[in-house]
């Protein structure tokens, strides 16, 4: 009996130990998690204190001065030391995020989350993310200089990881109960693939094929034209291309494969985009070129960007880095500044594959059977069995869709051809830009950059401004890749690439400025076939109008333009909607809402109710108009806003306007009224709970933590105006992820801000300390000091040394 009591106590202790040391579902292991000596209490820390730290492999000590914003200013004797320190310092502040993003890229989230992430991981593997990273590694492996820096960077990160104990781990590891693994060069390649997928991973080939078979060719072309009449392309229309010798492949005569797919993989968010611009000396208030950039991405914490100054005696660069990649991605040095926007182009095509039999070992090509290559993807699943996924590769690329994944057919599949799989050396482009001193060096740096294609804006202290649309673009026949193609037909293959020197570009244009906002790169006169699903049609026109109407431009003008909330689409559509409304049928409550939008000035400002009404109205109207596209059995994309506006304003009696489900024949006016009533009901409903429907609270922009917007680590209800399609492109969860303005004076003057903070630790005051200033349209002064000089805003210094 007495020993029974002992046994019970032993069992109780074992139970308590197990219970407090084990993760149950989403509940972290509470003992480990809450113990003050090792748990979250150890993450209660804001500042990087003065320290001398040990970083093996350094050839000389590296000094890191932190300013009041926790921006590290890194001074190293040479580039090897510089990138080693960059790895170490970045890991110090952003380790969890850098690793998590590469695991997401590689399709390894099941190792952290278990079965819930399996479908996501399969998608990542099946679209060849690892395949693409390996191709990039092959290219980089031939570049010994880049490999040396990548190795130093990895070793820097690993030096930091190796000195961590449980107490020092970022809080996310503690919550999810796992630990970091060593960094590798491949992880950097995976991070670059993550960006490539985010920016160049979209296509609508299946959706367009479905629309083509549903509506016919004439209607399809009407809904999805290659160009619109009002476009204001990146390269001004005046550009004459006639001096080029260009050959374009002939369009094959045979018909397309009209296959139908009910569902496709999730695509990159359509609000991923950006603005950039630069003015030359004659348009600048000071005579110095000025450049600005604001990439629009998902608003996340920790932020996608980490700001650093990286200096050696030979080069001194400042700007936004991507944690996980070498060097500055968007920034400036003593002589030049550069920025990027996404140069979307259709660089992902799909080929229908006919397998010989269910074994999928051979597929039809040019009337013969070609062998496939099998890649068995091993997906480790936390607390579960490892999942083996067979992915067959053709010479086009991986067969993403087959009967095991989304597609329902056996014996057939769809292979992806993507420039993301070509294997570029993007790191070289970035490092050469970091060191570039003039236009020629900028131009040379770009040639290594294949995907994701970017509009690289440039300005130099020699007075040059330029913009190259850089990427590797297939030289397509007219219409190639808009629809699913026949993988057995050699004529359907990409027939080559547009030569580097024929990538569209402009230097010192007469109009005195260059700009890009994800719009059409060129107009129809460009000799090559250009197509993409979804070019900007609004921001670009507002930006270019702004510069055309100004003699001289100041930094304040640049700031005002970043924060410009003018809604051009509303200005082109709303007057027609208002005119058509028969207000006699409105209730007094609806009438009050109508008055708000009627008196609106087309600016999506936070304390105005007009934008809330317009945006809700338009969001209701669009699916009502394109009801033909709500189809359970077919994946379809609705036409873009520009074409939606055109349909409503110029073709009010088109058959598409009619709502199919009703016996009546509706015209545009009927839709305006019906959608208004529906939108008004929605607004009233919202108001009941939240009060005044001003645009700020109504839009309720938030910056969400990378772990599915975990509320405790996210920021909500930020008072910022704008919306997608507006220069201040801040929608609910997307927007300017880094705003930078640089004047190429001597030395350069620069400012920048992003919606986050330098620390990745939610327990740090620097985790989200830029957010309020970002929302208010403010900037941080970026203190760009010469090599080794003391910052005026210095808060602490770390010295990295190769000795203990």
């Amino acid at each position: 009996m007495k020993f029974f009591k002992l046994l019970v106590l032993i069992a109780l202790n074992a139970g308590i130990f197990y219970g407090l040391n084990t993760k149950f579902g989403s509940i972290p292991p509470l003992g480990k998690f809450l113990a003050p000596s090792q748990g979250v209490w150890q993450n209660e820390s804001s500042e990087t204190a003065e320290a001398t730290l040990w970083l093996p492999g350094l050839s000389a000590p590296v000094t890191v001065q932190y300013d009041e914003n926790l921006i590290p200013h890194v001074f190293a004797e040479n580039k090897n030391d510089l990138y080693r320190a960059q790895g170490y310092i970045t890991a110090q502040h952003r380790l969890w995020q850098m690793e998590f993003q590469t695991m997401a890229s590689a399709g390894r989230l099941s190792e952290i989350f278990g079965e819930a992430a399996l479908n996501y991981d399969r998608g990542q593997r099946r679209k060849g993310m690892v395949f693409g990273a390996e191709k990039a590694l092959e290219t980089m492996a031939e570049d010994t200089e880049i490999m040396e820096y990548l190795q130093a960077y990895s070793e820097g990160i690993n030096a930091y990881i190796s000195e961590l104990n449980q107490a020092d781990l970022p809080v996310e590891y503690k919550m999810l109960d796992y630990a970091p693994e060593p960094w590798t060069i491949k992880k950097t390649a995976l991070l670059l693939m993550y960006m490539t997928d985010m920016l160049a991973g979209g296509d609508s080939d299946f959706e367009y094929t479905n629309a083509l078979s549903l509506f016919g060719k004439e209607r399809f072309n009407f809904l999805f034209p290659d160009y619109f009449d009002k476009i204001d392309p990146v390269i001004p229309k005046e550009r004459d291309w006639s001096e080029w010798q260009v050959s374009i492949p002939d369009t094959p005569a045979d018909s397309l494969a009209l296959d139908q797919l009910a569902e496709t993989m999730e695509k990159p968010h359509p609000d991923n985009g950006s603005n950039n611009w630069a003015v030359g000396p004659e348009k600048s208030y000071s005579g110095n070129p000025i450049l600005a950039n604001d990439p629009h991405l998902g608003l996340n914490l920790p932020s996608i960007w980490y700001v650093m100054q990286l200096a050696t005696p030979e080069q001194n660069t400042f700007g936004a880095t991507l944690p996980g990649a070498l060097g500055i991605v968007i920034g400036f040095n003593d002589n030049i500044a550069w920025g990027v926007t996404n140069a979307t182009r259709d660089v992902k095509d799909w080929y229908k594959i006919t397998f010989k039999d269910d074994s999928k070992q051979e597929y039809l090509y040019d009337n013969t059977w070609k062998p496939t290559t099998l890649k068995v993807e091993e997906i480790r699943v936390r607390d579960g069995e490892t999942y083996l996924d067979s992915v067959y590769y053709t010479h086009h690329g991986p067969v993403t869709y087959d009967e095991t994944f989304i597609s329902k057919r056996g014996g057939e599949g769809y292979a992806m051809k993507w420039t993301g799989h070509l294997g570029g050396n993007n790191q070289r482009t970035l490092l050469e830009l970091n060191a570039a001193k003039d236009y020629e060096e900028y131009k040379a740096a770009l040639t290594h950059f294949l995907a994701p294609a970017q509009n690289f804006v440039f300005a130099s202290d020699q007075g040059d401004i330029a913009l190259w649309i850089q990427g590797k673009f297939p030289n397509k026949w007219e219409g190639q890749g808009k629809f699913v193609m026949d993988g057995s037909n050699p004529e359907h293959e990409w027939q080559g690439f547009i030569p580097q020197e024929h990538n569209a570009h402009i230097k010192n244009p007469e109009r005195g400025f260059v700009s890009s906002a994800n719009q059409h790169p060129v107009d129809e006169n460009y000799p090559y076939y250009v197509f993409n699903d979804g070019y900007d049609t609004y921001r670009s026109r507002v930006i270019n109008e702004f510069f055309r109407n100004k003699e001289k431009v100041s930094i304040e003008d640049f700031q005002a333009l970043h924060n410009n909330n003018y809604n051009l689409m509303a200005a082109e559509l709303l007057p027609v909607m208002l005119d058509s409304m028969d207000t006699s049928t409105l209730t007094p409550e609806e009438m009050a809402i109508f008055e708000n939008v009627k008196n609106w000035d087309f600016y999506n400002d936070i304390d105005d109710a007009g934008p809330s009404v317009f945006e809700t109205w338009f969001d209701t109207l669009k699916p009502m108009l394109w009801d033909e596209f709500s189809n359970k059995d077919l994946a379809l994309d609705r036409p873009f806003n520009f074409q939606t506006v055109r349909m409503l304003t110029e073709h009010p009696d088109d058959p598409f306007i009619d709502i199919e489900a009703t016996p009546e024949k509706e015209d545009a006016n009927d839709l305006f009224l019906a959608s208004f009533k529906k939108a008004a009901a929605q607004i009233q409903e919202w108001s009941k709970e939240h009060g005044e429907y001003h645009w700020g609270p109504y839009k309720a922009t938030y910056v969400g933590h990378l772990l599915q917007d975990l509320p405790a680590f996210s920021r909500f209800n930020l008072p910022i105006g704008g919306n997608s399609g507006i220069v201040n492109a801040t929608s609910e969860d997307h927007g300017p992820s880094w705003r930078m303005i640089v004047e190429l004076s001597d030395p350069p003057k620069a400012m920048g801000i992003y919606p986050g903070g330098q620390s990745g630790n939610p327990g740090s005051k620097h985790y989200d300390d830029f957010i309020d200033r970002w929302a208010a349209g403010e900037y941080l002064e970026l203190e760009f000091v010469p090599y080794g000089e003391e910052l005026t805003s210095k808060v602490s210094t770390q010295v990295l040394k190769n000795e203990e």
Binding site: N13, N21, P36, E44, V171, P711, P762
Partner: protein
């Protein structure tokens, strides 16, 4: 006197041991102290419980107050304790106490059995 001695010794040893071990060092500390300074009945649980409860409450409070409870507030939202940091400190201390109390009970019982 023995009670107070056990309490102080448990807290002190738990603090020292967990400088070198994971969180379960508090269980080891309570066990060891209870074998050396055994207690009877309910006290064998309550006293080591109190020792580590106070230790963890103090440690959590001092780590967190130095940083304006920035992280504590977020974890108290996550768990969820409605952002109440005092409650989070109490929960933390309770968990440490629970672990120490149960191993203290085991320690006292081991001592009692070894004598019989």
């Amino acid at each position: 006197m023995k009670t107070l001695f056990n309490l102080i010794l448990t807290a002190a040893l738990a603090w020292i041991i967990t400088l070198f071990t994971p969180w379960w060092g508090v269980m080891a500390a309570a066990l060891l102290v209870a074998v050396l300074v055994p207690l009877q009945g309910l006290k064998s649980f309550i006293i080591p419980f109190m020792g580590v409860f106070l230790l963890w409450a103090y440690q959590a409070y001092s780590l967190s107050s130095a940083n304006d409870f920035t992280m504590a507030e977020k974890i108290a939202t996550l768990l969820p304790l409605e952002g109440n940091t005092s409650l989070l400190i109490a929960v933390t201390a309770f968990i440490g106490g629970l672990a120490a109390g149960s191993s203290g009970m085991l320690g006292s019982q081991l001592r009692a059995r070894s004598k019989s």
